[in-house]
Symmetry: C2
Subunit: 105 residues, 2 copies
DNA sequence: GGATTATATCAATCATTATTGATATTGTAT
DNA sequence: ATACAATATCAATAATGATTGATATAATCC
């Protein structure tokens, strides 16, 4: 009768975090990038060529992912190698599932 | 070395579906609505008053959720009662977790 | 040094979506 | 039928975010 949801500070903060995470990964190209990186680390040129995206657009999406902490990068010669940040992905997945799992029975 | 990800029809279709789902639930107010509805079914006026949202905005978000199949509605007198569609939420959660779970080890 | 390659940034545009205000619809009651 | 309450719809605006083209930076090689 009295849902406490969405009212106390903790609940609000969690919802906000989950929403941010979801916004980052709800973009199709970023989903694809994550999909690629979960199998191998890759340089930018491999990613944009594989996904047939513009180079600067790919850089942009990588930046969004990196700013949120879902991927990391290292310089290797001319190339910048991106890899997935498993810990972060796991952390947010867990938080998300705190919501989603409690729906089904 | 050769990620098959994002290339075959099935993979593309799944990514697209997941992205659509994520877009629907990545909006903070809609997340809150889902949060409320997972505990109780509620009429529109209870929802917008509880969340302190405009009535028409609440209707809009409910429509987005309903169009995607995540909630259902029934008329009861003057009121329209919304409830969560557990099966659908579960279905998309599963699909999403096919992606997310395979990240962390 | 200059030339080349890989990546990032910046400004502008385009597209999508959230929000708002006004109005329409629907059900109920008098 | 009129009045009222709950909800939905519509048009307009505001805000956000994706995409593009041009340019800048950084590392490497000659």
């Amino acid at each position: 009768m009295k849902p406490k949801c969405c009212k106390n500070k903790k609940s609000i903060a969690e919802i906000s975090q989950v929403a941010e995470f979801l916004k980052v990964i709800s973009e199709e190209n970023r989903l694809k990038i994550l999909c690629l990186l979960k199998k191998n680390e890759m340089c930018v040129c491999d990613i944009w060529q594989y996904l047939d995206l513009a180079q600067n657009l790919t850089s942009h999406h990588l930046k969004v992912l990196k700013d949120f902490g879902l991927v990391s990068s290292k310089q290797e010669g001319l190339k910048v190698i991106y890899s997935i940040n498993k810990k972060a992905v796991k952390k947010y997945s867990k938080l998300l599932n705190k919501f989603l799992n409690s729906y089904g029975k």
